[in-house]
């Protein structure tokens, strides 16, 4: 089977409905059996500006975005101007025939003649369906699912727009440019059993729900808002309280209160909002309250670029909060991993009785992928608190134990009283000025690192046994790094990829061999200073001399890496 990969960009102003076309086309492709990787690029405004919805698709596996464009569907002239340089050799522009474009291959569609204004995006779907050589019945079913509930008439209109545009394209190309047809036609592929289409944030939300999240507080902030909003959509069905707080400080303190009272609790935010939670994180550490924080990264400092992507908040999260206390930081590399690590985060928070962080970013948050359905029966949810029945009176919340973890009773569920304190405290939870107790309590808290280290997800390794080049990455860049490594392998180089889905704590034994074995180690990150490379150095004492860093707000692509390595 030959494989073909195409990159389809739909571009226009905010408010022109390009996300609708994009989602319909993505669904169609997945139902036809193709893989997709969606990248959304938008500005911090509601209307106007320049946005794109990019679907990279293939009949083979796929996990990264691409920079060149094979099919550019535009809603305005500006999009052509901004992206013409990115068109691949046979790249085609699809535009309204009223927009005049010169010197590049272009298909002008007379939308106005084919359909009404409202149905132009469905018409564009029809054009794309034909160009990509897709089974026409699939987008029709997709439309049916989307608009079916709105009644037969609405559905019929949509159906008509789709068919008319499909037919028009077929007729037009038959005469005019059959070669474009071939280039854009996707190879046939097996229909797969139904897959979920999820973006990173949806996967996090579903993962949290599966894990048993019961309380979620947030203050809106791009690109994290949709995690809480998605959970809220199912709050009634799943028995969750979702609360928009008055500010981020309230959000983290609410979550701590809710967790203390027994609910597995979540806070979602971005870097600037997280900065405000710093004191609260320290409170979770001191009071040993489990709480999960999901942070959608975007470029800083300060307000920065609110709708773009970056991996710049790793050090912020690692060192947030005054004083020393244990924590864990997860960083999923794919949409599927978003789902699973959301669950892991709740587990770790409960087992270590403290804050656990999950770092995602705008790229992953908005990136739709096709995911094999999760088996509901296999999913475990978190158990909060400890059974009160064996507890002695008076119950001591911070009893000193071998591994630093004390039985955690929940207030109000027994006659035992639960005392938590942000001051340094004695085993019973009351504040103390006994400085020997202080030392014991610091040691108790730090001991919990042993448990966290036992449960660490080791980095995944892919590639040759003895690579000349080892690419190290974390979080959302995984797909691009793996694809770049594949390209290098094809060019005859021995390459390995080490991807960290958990970036703290690090257990050097898990990976130091890889670093030692490789002739050259290159860290790949979306930030300006190589924060994770620094962390690896701290954990291993090894210097990582070469870094590929991107910090213009766009995701790292395989091309970014290959260009930097001058291949």
């Amino acid at each position: 089977m030959t494989t073909k990969t195409l990159n389809i960009v739909i571009g226009g102003e905010a408010g022109q409905g390009l996300v609708t076309i994009g989602e319909l086309l993505a669904k169609t492709l997945v139902e036809c059996g193709y893989e997709i990787v969606v990248t959304q690029s938008y500005q911090s405004r509601v209307r106007g500006g320049h946005n794109t919805f990019t679907i990279r698709t293939s009949n083979a596996g796929l996990a990264a975005p691409q920079e060149t464009i094979d099919l550019l569907i535009v809603m305005n002239e500006e999009t052509v101007r901004l992206h013409r340089e990115e068109l691949s050799k046979n790249g085609l522009v699809v535009t309204d025939s009223s927009i005049k474009i010169d010197a590049i291959p272009c298909l002008g569609v007379p939308y106005g003649e084919l359909t009404s204004r409202r149905h132009e995006n469905v018409a564009a779907l029809g054009v794309a369906t034909f160009l990509l050589g897709l089974d026409k019945t699939v987008p029709a079913q997709v439309l049916e699912r989307k608009f079916g509930k709105k009644g037969a008439e609405v559905m019929a209109e949509n159906r008509k727009a789709l068919d008319t545009a499909y037919q028009w394209t077929s007729d037009k190309l038959a005469q005019a440019r059959p070669e474009a047809l071939d280039f854009l036609k996707l190879p046939e592929t097996k229909r797969q059993s139904p897959r979920l289409i999820l973006n990173g944030n949806e996967a996090l939300a579903l993962g949290a729900l599966s894990a048993g999240v019961k309380f979620c507080s947030f203050y809106p902030m791009t690109p994290a808002t949709s995690i809480a909003v998605t959970i809220n959509q199912y709050a009634a069905a799943m028995g969750v309280v979702v609360e928009q707080a008055e500010d981020e400080i309230a959000a983290i303190n609410m979550a701590i209160g809710a967790a203390f009272a027994g609910a597995p609790s979540l806070v979602t935010t971005s870097g600037g909002g997280f900065a405000l939670m710093t004191e609260g994180i320290s409170l979770a550490g001191m009071t040993e309250t489990p709480v999960v924080v999901m942070l959608g990264q975007r470029p800083g400092p300060a307000t920065g670029l609110p709708t773009r992507t970056e991996q710049g908040d790793l050090e912020l999260v690692l060192y947030a909060g005054h004083g020393d206390f244990p924590r864990a930081i997860l960083a999923p590399g794919s949409v599927e991993e978003c789902f699973h690590l959301a669950g892991k985060a709740f587990e770790l928070a409960e087992s270590s009785q403290g804050p656990v962080f999950l770092l995602t970013d705008q790229f992953l948050a908005d990136s739709f992928r096709a995911v094999v359905p999760f088996n509901v029966d296999e999913l475990c949810s978190v158990q909060t608190g400890t059974d009160p029945s064996p507890a002695q009176s008076p119950y001591r919340r911070y009893a000193l134990t071998e591994d630093g973890v004390s039985p955690r009773l929940l207030p109000g569920f027994s006659r035992h009283l639960v005392i938590a304190d942000s001051d340094e405290h004695d085993e019973d939870g009351h504040l103390t000025e006994d400085l020997e107790v202080r030392v014991r309590m610091v040691d108790k808290r730090m001991k919990k690192y042993a448990r966290l280290k036992n449960e660490v997800i080791p980095p995944s390794y892919l590639g040759a046994e003895d690579p000349e080049l080892l690419l190290v990455c974390w979080g959302s860049t995984q797909g691009s790094v793996v694809e770049a490594a594949g390209a290098l392998e094809s060019a005859g180089r021995k390459v390995g990829v080490l991807h960290f889905a958990q970036v703290w704590p690090l257990v050097a034994q898990h990976f130091v061999e890889y670093l030692n074995r490789a002739r050259q180690v290159v860290a790949v990150e979306s930030n300006a200073t190589g924060q994770f490379a620094r962390l690896l150095e701290r954990a291993t004492g090894l210097q990582i001399r070469r870094q590929i860093l991107r910090y213009d707000g766009l995701p790292i692509t395989p091309q970014t890496i290959l260009a930097a390595l001058k291949i």
Partner: protein, 283 residues
């Protein structure tokens, strides 16, 4: 059912003569009067002298961060509405650092009882101005006297039509007990601002100063008349009215969440059937 003894007797870190002692005693009495047992109660406090109070009585306690008692209590209440949640902290904690949460708690009308030990000064940090300090009040940190107008928690609470707005004075222990008992009984957000002397750092608003001014509301005062309440709430001068100033019965916030009708969140598992349905929406 409980007795005073159930709430224990602890050594405190307060100065002799401090108004906090009377408030602590009144709170215990109110708990007994409310028929609450220690394990049904959750006290949430911030940081300050007042915020130490929960350490001095038997109950579930979360002594949190300076200024952040209200959101923490809100989270706890929304996690387990069966708990009687009482927020207890100082004027600096609640109206200074925590001002934004005060506004939000009133808007939510969440069923918490908020007891503010208002000594018009930052006690624990040794005597800086608090938001309720009088204009001109001289401290080490304000050698030229306080320059801003004092915050009137009652005026703001009544203006926002808070559920239950009362003032009391530590010099009248029975009055404090009565106000706290009523506040606990009130279903919705309730505020009791309790004036009390700080013998160490507030030499202006002394026990006598309060005693001379605090005057109980007349028996025929109607706390449901908003206009009258507004006028009463801003009174602060030769007489300072104490009592239940305003009351407004509205369903408490937590009743808006059908899921909470099923009991505390900690006891609600994951409905796998519902989860499967949700997954299928993404097919």
């Amino acid at each position: 059912m409980s007795t005073l003894q159930d709430f224990g007797q602890y050594e405190t870190a307060w100065c002799p003569g401090c108004g906090n002692f009377a408030i602590l005693q009144a709170v215990k009495k109110a708990l007994v009067a409310s028929g609450l047992s220690p394990h049904q109660l959750l006290f949430v406090s911030g940081i300050g002298q007042a915020a130490k109070t929960p350490h001095y009585l038997n109950a579930n306690v979360f002594n949190g961060l300076h200024g952040r008692a209200l959101p923490l209590a809100t989270g706890a209440k929304l996690s387990n509405p069966a708990l009687t949640v009482i927020v207890e902290s100082g004027d600096g904690c609640n109206y200074g650092e925590g001002g934004n949460h005060f506004l939000a708690a009133i808007r939510r009308n969440i069923n918490l009882t908020m007891l503010v030990h208002n000594n018009q000064v930052y006690g624990l940090t040794k005597g800086q101005a608090s938001p309720t300090s009088q204009k001109g009040f001289v401290t080490k940190a304000q050698p030229g006297g306080v320059l801003a107008q004092p915050f009137s928690p009652l005026a703001v609470a009544v203006a926002m039509r808070a559920g239950f707005v009362a003032r009391s004075f530590s010099g009248y222990e029975e009055h404090v007990t009565a106000m706290v008992t009523q506040a606990i009984a009130h279903q919705g957000f309730s505020l009791v601002d309790i004036l009390h002397p700080c013998v160490s750092f507030n030499k202006l608003n002394t026990f006598t100063w309060y005693k001379e001014r605090c005057e109980k509301l007349p028996d025929d005062y109607s706390p449901t008349d908003w206009e009258a309440a507004m006028k009463t709430a801003v009174k602060w001068g030769d007489t300072i009215p104490i009592g239940l100033i305003y009351k407004n019965e509205q369903p408490p916030y937590e009743e808006n969440f059908p899921v909470l009708k099923k009991g505390p969140l900690a006891k609600q598992g994951v409905d796998k059937k519902a989860l499967q349905d949700i997954f299928s929406r993404y097919l």
